[in-house]
Amino acid sequence: MSARSTLLLLCFVAYFGYSFQPPKPTKWVISKSCSLKVAGSTNINKFNCAIANYYKPDTLTFYKNTHNENVKITGKMELDVNNFDCHNPVMTADLRKTLKAKAYPKLTINFINLDKYPDFKEKNGEVKGKVNIELAGVTKTFDVNYKFIVNGTNTLILVGTRRVNFSDFKIIPPRKLGGMIETNDELDIEFNLNLKMMN
């Protein structure tokens, strides 16, 4: 092999070796005051339910890729469906029943990716990402719009919003009095994550 070929080979290895270096993981711990809100409606009223003050010391790991903007995430939020509060005992009980809380007491949001890493130079901004939501024994992947707010150094608030349908999770929206009172299939989900960087 000539010196020129060897040099070319070395350049090739160096370039692709650099390209294929593993993404840098950044660990974020889910801190207090996280919440999940759902908003829906029936043909007679609207309802807003929330799991406030979700706190489990879970960790989200962001894998920043140098060349690809897509940021892989591992980590999840696991919420108790029985902690939903609709500010009305009747609505609260009905939502829990509708979401099959007895059989499936957990609502899990698995974070998959973000289309880019939040820019800490900006105070706030928007990113998109994918999550898996597991509800009533059915898991489905959704694209989520996030708003992020940089809250001091190493602290980030992520607010994810997404409209889902009861039917996405094979849940029949409740109907009462022979269908005279019907719950609409759409449900707006908003989750607030307070994250603190660990490393």
Partner: protein, 135 residues
């Protein structure tokens, strides 16, 4: 027997139209009265819708039989006979049922009163129909 069945069927059809027409309009124009129905106490999967919509026929056939047995007790003008029949049904059947319902279920007095009033109106209407077609 045939008279009872025909009176029951006619009353059932009229009650069906008026009861569910009225209920539909009430839900549309007074939605706040129905918020409490968003409760797990009430069937929500649609599996009993047919039974729900059969109610006017069940009550009409039962009242038609009751009318045939007791119509001689109700005297006077057709209007008074129908009204008295309705009030008798409300006193004998509805009031005790509503009493035990309110005492045992976690529902408001408004709901129980609305059910009582709804049943009373159905019975009066059925009584008027029976007084007219099966005097």
């Amino acid at each position: 027997m045939k008279k009872i069945a025909i009176s029951g069927l006619i009353a059932g059809l009229i009650l069906f139209a008026i009861s569910y027409g009225g209920l539909y309009l009430a839900v549309r124009f007074f939605p706040n009265l129905f918020i409490e129905y968003n409760s797990p106490l009430f069937n929500s999967d649609g599996s009993r819708d047919l039974m729900f919509y059969m109610h006017p026929f069940i009550i009409s056939f039962a009242l038609s039989w009751f009318w045939a047995r007791c119509k001689s007790v109700f005297k006077g003008h057709m209007l008074f006979r129908g009204l008295e029949f309705g009030f008798v049904y409300a006193l004998v059947a509805l009031l005790p049922v509503m009493w035990i319902t309110f005492s045992s279920l976690d529902i408001t007095i408004t709901i129980v009163l609305s059910w009582f009033f709804y049943g009373l109106m159905q019975a009066i209407l059925a009584g008027l129909i029976f007084a007219k077609i099966n005097p």
